[in-house]
């Protein structure tokens, strides 16, 4: 992991246009509906529930994907409903490395109602009292905030998802040239949108900004807090890379 990994061009290229192109390429991620469509197509392959493979029986060869699709209509609606939940979870998790277009946000907000995220909002086991929260977990308010993917269904929509996206995008854009501003914007995002979809993304930007301003100890502390708060986050690899890149 700590092998020599040169800085990524989308962050460090001296060509701003190339950075913009690569950034656009990184932001093209599927929304919940698109992932749901793929999962629905996979339904027959997965036996409708994603069972572990049993030696390949019943699995259509890749070249027959379209044929599989045509036979998958029974139960597709049900699968799609599950898929939307899966997609929402994936989408929510992947926002960190690729802050998305506002247009995409709007589309996802439409197809990913809070109820669809229910599988991603595990309630504490019955009888569970206070969880074993490590005493060393810092109380950084930015990370203590609960990510939406883990939220219980709520009738209150995020205040302004588009504003949140724009704020995080500004923070991301500032990171290469003005990390102090990037940090300030990331903090502002955390304060204004503690339950926002870009919560983790803002946190990573803050960590990157701390590193860029030679505040490694604070960055490492924040990274530890993030790891504790989001142990399964797909963005941990990004944080590891950041920490490894800046000794």
């Amino acid at each position: 992991m700590t092998d020599d990994n040169p800085d990524r061009l989308h962050e460090t290229s001296e060509d701003p246009e190339l950075r913009a192109l690569l950034g656009a390429g990184r932001r093209e991620l599927p929304d919940a509906q698109q992932l749901g469509a793929v999962l629905a197509k996979l339904g027959p392959t997965l036996g409708g529930g994603g069972n572990p493979p049993g030696g390949g029986g019943g699995v259509a060869p890749p070249g027959k994907a379209a044929a599989v699709t045509k036979s998958a209509w029974v139960g597709v609606a049900k699968l799609a409903a599950v898929a939307v939940g899966v997609g929402a979870a994936v989408w929510g998790a992947q926002r960190l490395t690729a802050h998305s277009d506002p247009s995409t946000d709007a589309a996802v907000a439409t197809v990913a109602p809070a109820s669809a995220r229910a599988p991603e909002a595990p309630a504490p086991p019955p009888g569970t009292t206070e969880p074993a929260v490590p005493s060393s977990v810092p109380s950084a308010p930015s990370v203590a905030a609960k990510p939406r993917a883990l939220s219980a269904p709520s009738s209150s929509a995020p205040p302004d998802p588009e504003a949140e996206v724009k704020l995080v995008e500004r923070a991301q854009d500032a990171l290469a040239t003005d990390p102090a501003t990037a940090y300030r914007l990331a903090e502002e995002s955390a304060r204004r949108f503690p339950h926002g979809d870009n919560r983790q993304e803002a946190e990573v930007i803050a960590i990157a900004a701390l590193l860029a301003t030679n505040r490694r100890a604070a960055a490492e502390e924040r990274a530890r807090t993030f790891r504790t708060a989001y142990p399964a986050s797909t963005h941990l690899r990004r944080i590891d890379t950041l920490l490894a890149q800046r000794p």
Partner: protein, 186 residues
Amino acid sequence: MFLQALILPTAPSPLDTTSLFREHAAYVWRALRRLGVREADIEDVCQEVFVVVHRRLADFEGRSSPRTWIYGIAIRTASDYRKRASHVREVATATPPDVLSRDNPHDALSARQARATLDRLLDALDDDKRAVFVLYEIEEVPMNEVAEAVGCPLQTAYSRLHAARKAVAEGARRLREASAAKEGAS
């Protein structure tokens, strides 16, 4: 309350196709797009990847991470896709003649235009260099995993990345010059 759910450790996901899909599908999708899979075909090709994942999962020995393994499958699936002559033709004709703007890229380039331009630059790379470039620059996979995913020695992966970066930067420069010339002529 909610913080409890947040901090409770997440149990490792069982290695089944649905879990792998949940964790990796979005990234596979993005990688496939940058590897040259058309928007109109992306769902089917993404499906193909996870059909292969499902079919081969019993043989997965864990020598690499699931992510690396799935990216490897995605690279091969995209390569097969690109070899289909009809797709290659369609990609070539479907790519709009975008040029780079000299204005603020964030303002002047729509996301779609920017992606089309990026893909045009990536189309100029051979499959090997493109795969390394996409995994490293777009997917942010560490180089050791990139080498595993594409099935080459680490130093070869570095060489491919270096060559791909040079080609992409040069392509971007040429597009910018073409744009400037076009603006000057008008």
